[in-house]
Symmetry: C2
Subunit: 122 residues, 2 copies
Amino acid sequence: MEKMNPVEMCDMSEVHEALIEKINRSLPDEDDIYDLAELFKIFGDSSRIRILCVLSVSEVCVCDLAAVLNMTQSAVSHQLRILKANRLIKGRREGKQVFYSLDDEHVRSIIAAGMEHLKEED
Amino acid sequence: MEKMNPVEMCDMSEVHEALIEKINRSLPDEDDIYDLAELFKIFGDSSRIRILCVLSVSEVCVCDLAAVLNMTQSAVSHQLRILKANRLIKGRREGKQVFYSLDDEHVRSIIAAGMEHLKEED
DNA sequence: CAAACACATGAACAGTTATTCATATGTTCA
DNA sequence: TGAACATATGAATAACTGTTCATGTGTTTG
């Protein structure tokens, strides 16, 4: 891939040129970064975090989720759809009900990593 | 964004009542969940992730960031402000330039946790 | 089959957000 | 002091997102 035309660069271009080269080589793939941002976007909503926390405790059906989280069934379903599409949870039908549970062990570790940052603040 | 709504619950209320009680007790504090979502919101933008990835390699000034990431200086500054306000990065002035670097070890672990999820997909 | 229930989903709306543009602040140096 | 440079920031705009409302799908049961 050809180098992007530097839109802006400070005067000491010679000095920082090498650094920029080095950084460009060690940056993750553009697509990976995009996917990563998309993933964190999923965690960037308290309703979804709450759902994940509940499912982290136990497999739960949709209406119980709505009850525990004090959300409408529709709102819960919309969020479950997003979580499922991103393979963070999975659904299991049992008669009229659908029970959801975590589909990825990393969900807990991602949440834990975020919590650590919060608990560290002064 | 979070609204109060009428509680919904499926018919088998007696069966799930105990489960709901248990879940309610083990859920994280409401404020913590909110803060956690706010934190992940920061990571939920590819421009900010890219900035964090760059700073994960080296301390870099604003105009070099703009050059590497092919963004305008203004756009970079706006994002740096957000990252700084959330204590993910810190700035160090050196003459006319300001050099930014990571301010939290957890930044790397949060990104790593997210990456693991992506790399796991079939 | 029809009714009741659990859940899913499309459309619309309100609130949020990242970027751009213009301009302000802060620093160095002639 | 004033010009040039590096960065910061306010306002405006376009794009995105979560919820609600209405309705559709799938399942059980009378």
